[in-house]
């Protein structure tokens, strides 16, 4: 709204022209981040109280002896805080004429609703198993991914520059227009997008098992993709870093900044010992939006570095759980998801989370280093 307002006032000229500063991407990004941060900090307490009253928490009366030592009873579904703050902030600071913003916001809403449905089903059923079935979740994720892929692929609706629609960026390799090489997927681009959406959203969902782990670990890839969106959306910088210029993608910087602000605000309450969990509402929404950021910036392969922690957690889970526990009838790791293996080895939860953050930071820096290393 502020973007539209200042745009209008600025067009009147005269005394209003300094308002131009409010329309710079950098200004709006920081403003959006601060807005989500403040909104989350302000609204967290009443929201948490309400979640508690609404019964959005897991409790087991039969196991009350464990209560003093466990975190059971912590309200879940805190993702609504993140999503709410994001939407408010983006309404204020976003440029809603921009297609990129619509795309990524759609993921926030669709995946948020999917996660919320799952959380509500779990609370109603009373156990972790009574949520939506794996198949139902996967189906909706895949459908969304295919739809997004189709929109990005079709010539009438694609936001990408011509000849660059079905290309995916390769780290350390220059694009063709700078004398390098483009990897064209042609029709396979659509299922590839669906794959990225499903994989990344589930990856975040899976890592959400310790206090502050998902929010903190996802924060850094979000920041990395914000920086990349900034570079891609700036003609000079794109030229300097040898990226194809994608006009309009700078709007994703505002989104990424808002998300980062919301995550930091959420960590305030989600840090050990957590007052609130994000639930599937938060983790699926976070994963879904991160996936769309990745797809829109065309840096899917870079996520193997920037999201290395996610890759690690997921690969070990697939091997350890699907192959090991379900097929072979034995453990291949001490526990999966792998963060619980460290707990099994006697590392406290707080320390595991901190170490995962450090590794995530390290990988984020590595990912940023690839910007120029080509």
């Amino acid at each position: 709204m502020i973007y539209a307002l200042t745009e209008f006032l600025e067009s009147l000229g005269g005394v209003f022209s300094p308002l131009r500063a409010l329309n710079y991407v950098s200004t709006r990004s920081i403003a959006a981040a601060l807005t989500t941060l403040v909104l989350v900090l302000l609204f967290a307490r009443p929201v948490i109280r309400r979640l508690y009253v609404a019964g959005q928490r897991d409790r087991h009366r039969d196991f009350d002896e464990q209560l003093a030592k466990s975190k059971r009873g912590t309200p879940t579904m805190g993702g609504v805080l993140i999503i709410g703050a994001m939407i408010a902030s983006l309404l204020l600071w976003g440029d809603w004429t921009n297609g990129y913003l619509w795309a990524v916001t759609s993921a926030l809403i669709v995946f948020g609703l999917l996660g919320a449905a799952d959380d509500l089903a779990k609370v109603r059923g009373g156990t972790a198993e009574s949520g939506l079935s794996r198949g139902a979740k996967l189906l909706i994720q895949t459908l969304y991914g295919l739809l997004l892929g189709a929109i990005l692929f079709l010539p009438n609706t694609t936001p990408f520059p011509e000849g660059y629609v079905d290309v995916i960026g390769i780290p350390f390799v220059k694009p063709e227009q700078y004398g390098g090489f483009d990897l064209h997927l042609s029709l396979f681009y659509v299922p590839f997008v669906a794959f990225v959406v499903v994989a990344v959203s589930n990856a975040v969902n899976l890592i959400d098992g310790l206090d502050g782990l998902a929010a903190g670990t996802a924060l850094l890839p979000v920041a990395v993709y914000g920086v990349i969106a900034y570079v891609l959306g700036h003609a000079n910088m794109a030229g300097y870093f040898l990226y194809p210029f994608q006009p309009g993608i700078h709007e994703l910087v505002v989104f990424a900044a808002a998300l980062a602000g919301a995550l930091i605000g959420f960590l305030w309450y989600n840090g050990y010992p957590a007052q609130v969990f994000m639930g599937d509402t938060g983790s699926l929404a976070l994963g879904g939006t991160l996936a769309v950021l990745i797809v829109l910036t065309k840096q899917e392969l870079l996520f193997l570095i920037a999201g290395g922690v996610f890759l690690y957690v997921n690969l070990t889970h697939v091997i350890g759980d699907r192959i090991g526990i379900h097929y072979l009838g034995r453990r291949l790791f001490f526990r999966t998801p792998i963060h619980h293996a460290y707990e099994h080895l006697g590392v406290a939860e707080t320390k595991v989370v901190l170490r995962f953050w450090i590794v995530s930071l390290l990988l984020a820096l590595l990912a940023l280093a690839t910007l120029k290393l080509r």
Partner: protein, 686 residues
Amino acid sequence: MRVLLTGGGSGGHVSPLLAIAEALREHDPDLRTLYLGVRSGLERELVPRAGIRLRTVPATGMPATPVSPAMLRFALTLLAGIIVALVHLITFRPRVIVASGGYASSPAVFASAALSVITFGVWRIPVYLHEQNAVPGRMNVAASRIARQVGVVHPSTLLRIPSGEAEVVGYPVRAGFTVAARADARDRLEIPGDVLYLVVTGGSQGARTINRALVDGLPRLAERDRLAIIHATGTARTTDYDAVRDTHDRLAELTRRPERYQVVDYLHEMPLHLAAADLAVMRAGAGSLFEVCTLGVPALVIPKANLPGDSQVANARQLAAKGAVEILYEQPALFGGKLLEAVSGDELAERISVLLNDEPRRRALAERARDVFDRRAAERIAKRVVGLGKRIRVIDADDTTAGNGEIVPVEELPASPAELRRHVERVIGLCYEDAFAHGPVRDHELLHLDDLDYLRYRGAALLAHSQWSMRNEGVKLIALTRHREKLELILHVISDRTPTSRWQRLLGGDFLHVGFERRNAVTALALLGVVNEDVLAAISAALTDPYYEVRAAALRLVRALIAQGRKIAGVAMIAGRVRALTGDRNIEVRWEALHTFGLVGPAEEILELNRRYALADRTPLREAVLRSYHALLDRHANGRGQPWRDQLLHDLDRFAITSLAFHPHFPLKDQYTALQRRIDHEQEPA
């Protein structure tokens, strides 16, 4: 009215449909029917004889393994079946589909759903589903979601039907099913009045369990006078088992058998023989049970174990609860290193003898059996089907208590083994993982378990299951019900070294009895509470098992046994093994071994070993060292006057006490819990 009948694969699914068709024809003389079945099923014989047109569709049963070539074949067959059934639906244009379950009925039922979707709900053919088994199969559960109305035989089945309108309607019986009077039947078979007639059959295919048990039991039965036995072996001929050949080979080895013993491959006039019988021994398929019940024959049933949903056992238990049959469970036993379900000949002969001697009991069984199936079931179903055809709902007020009015409620135990095990855990108040701390299951804990015999049977039967996850639940059930007679099987699971499939070995599997099974079998020993030479041999095998959790569990078991004050023969040998495991490649085994060595090792060696781990990086290793010191002090009265006491103090001085692990403690939750307990148990807080 046009009605499509579908179902089959076995006789139990076909004859109810024919009964329904017969009842429908009375309502509507212009009834036109088409039967969709499978090529290989019994419907090929029965349906044309009843004057109904038969068409076949491709269909197979759903395999138990979720990801397998068999599952792919199943999915493709189902797809093909749905397409064929769709063609039949479009050409025959039925008003109603009546399905009786069995895999043969799935294509038509799913095709009706597909037709509704394709035509956007314009062309909807209502489905009436009749479920005869106490526990419906997975395909029938899926079909019940599509069906407009569902009728069941057993009241408890209603709990397992997820949606749709379900009610108890009974088992439809053909009006033309004439019961040969007992005297007539005996005359025709030329059985003298004072001779007891025993019919033994495992169905048309035959049952290995029944055939072998009967042959083994013949010498004992030969001790009786005035007993005639007819034994139908069945015609099964698979790579594992050839019913006729196997039976005759075994008969040839017998030195003694009853005079009036006759063995045949197949009994063509089964109803006649059953009508003449004083006792029948048979399987517990829905069809066979229906036969003995409608004829009112006292029956001893041996339900086939480990079918999907354990359906035969569930059927048999339903009838046994009503006093209509007696059950003899099969139990797995080791045959040449392989686990097979079996009944011992002695046991079968004993049960037969007891029943033959007890005429009042047999008469009671026959009377209760005759009451089980309500003859009006076919009429009741026909009314509903006609209602569906006219698109109206039939409610008959006088008919709400279908079945017999008097139904003995069966305490419903969960059908799935995992849920059954959780049920037992809840009742005993013991989580399987806590077995070591708990020690042997105590008598008073078992008192709370209703139907302990069945639970024990189920656990043992599961051990012969083809899926490891089922065998794993079997191991747990045996342990939780303290089924000590099956100790031999538990030990077999631990020490059997039959390799698993090549695929599994390629991915890191080792033996047929997978890691979890072996680990839980070791844990089972703590609950069974038997220590003898065989158990010690198994423990020592477990200590060198290739899978780390088995080694770790064995170490914990050694500690648990010592803590219970068990005398362990050959403790020096075990101490040597434990000592070796302190250098294991797996860190969890290492810390369990360090701890255990404190209970079994010599003091000097313990101190020497522990010193090496005083600065270990991993917290659990150092924790194990401290626990082992505790164990050492326990053994030597706190070390008073021991030569190594000063050395221990010296070592502890150099021990790293930084810990990466901690347990949170929330004072607020303390207060909350204390308050809750105080209210729940009216207890003063400690």
